[in-house]
């Protein structure tokens, strides 16, 4: 992503870079934290908006019934596990995942162990027997520009603080 940093002139810029040194990673993770927060808020709202249906007592044959909705238990598991994954730092590069991430784990629903991530995926993409509700894809798409703006403004502010310190 292109990032524009406002500075007054070349002298400012070289001073800024000299001062930044090994604190570049701190700036990157601080900025990413703000951006990821914006996306995570949108994802939380998205998870809350999932429509769920009644709990089914017996699993019907998938090809004979209309598509089902996620059960309240499935929705609760997905809502509870929506968030930001650990930040992964690698030599000046910082990245993370937002949504129902790899460490979401499993839940027991109706005596069966289900991966929360797979439930979220089945809701977001749909299956041949579950209604598709692309809430996470929509949230990611809608929050993208707000997240980018949050990252840029935070990075600018952190650069300024470092230069003025």
């Amino acid at each position: 992503m292109a990032m524009k940093i406002s500075t007054e002139g070349l002298e400012d810029l070289s001073a800024m870079l000299a001062k930044l040194g090994n604190r570049a990673e701190d700036v990157a993770s601080g900025a990413l934290y703000d951006g990821a927060g914006v996306v995570a808020d949108a994802m939380k709202r998205a998870a809350d908006s999932i429509v769920c249906g009644p709990q089914q007592k017996k699993r019907p044959a998938p090809e004979k019934t209309p598509k089902r909705l996620p059960t309240p238990e499935e929705k609760a598991a997905v809502v509870g596990k929506t968030g930001i994954a650990k930040f992964h730092k690698n030599g000046g590069e910082v990245d993370t995942l937002v949504g129902v991430t790899g460490n979401a784990g499993y839940v027991m629903i109706g005596g069966r162990k289900k991966a929360v991530r797979m439930i979220a995926r089945a809701i977001n993409s749909g299956t041949s027997f579950m209604v598709k509700q692309p809430v996470f894809r929509r949230a990611a798409s809608a929050s993208k520009s707000a997240a980018q703006a949050a990252i840029v403004s935070k990075a600018e502010k952190m650069f300024e603080d470092i230069i003025n310190s």
Binding site: R121, S128, K132, S141
Partner: protein, 121 residues
């Protein structure tokens, strides 16, 4: 017809798979799929209201087995109608049904395109 209509009609013409707009009432026995608009992603404010609206949608195909020819046909329709703005969002095997589910996500504007049936006479 809009670009979305063009996409739907071209997908329905693919042999070896039956693709419906939005949802099946009675699911076919063979390979099947659906195509739908999911949500609006962008638009401009014009003097007559909204202009240049763009939508994100998806094509879901469910196949018995890999069916690479069908997949290639769907991909070529997407490439033809949406140019580069589509991707394979997920591919997964359903244990319960034995089907392979592929989800393609595309982005389209609502611009009008000539109807091949009308213009071709």
């Amino acid at each position: 017809m809009t670009k979305f209509d063009q996409l739907v009609s071209q997908l329905k013409n693919i042999s070896g798979i039956e693709i419906a707009e939005y949802e099946w009432r009675t699911r076919p026995n063979g390979d099947f799929g659906t195509v739908q608009k999911d949500f609006e992603i962008d638009s401009d404010n014009g003097s007559d209201g909204k202009q240049d609206r763009a939508f994100e949608g998806s094509v879901d195909i469910f196949t018995h087995g890999k069916q690479m020819l069908t997949v290639a046909a769907v991909e070529s329709v997407l490439e033809d109608v949406c140019s580069g703005s589509w991707y394979l969002n997920s591919e997964q095997y359903e244990h319960e049904t034995g089907l392979i589910h592929r989800e393609f996500v595309f982005q389209l504007t609502d611009e009008e395109v000539p109807d091949p049936e009308e213009s071709g006479g």
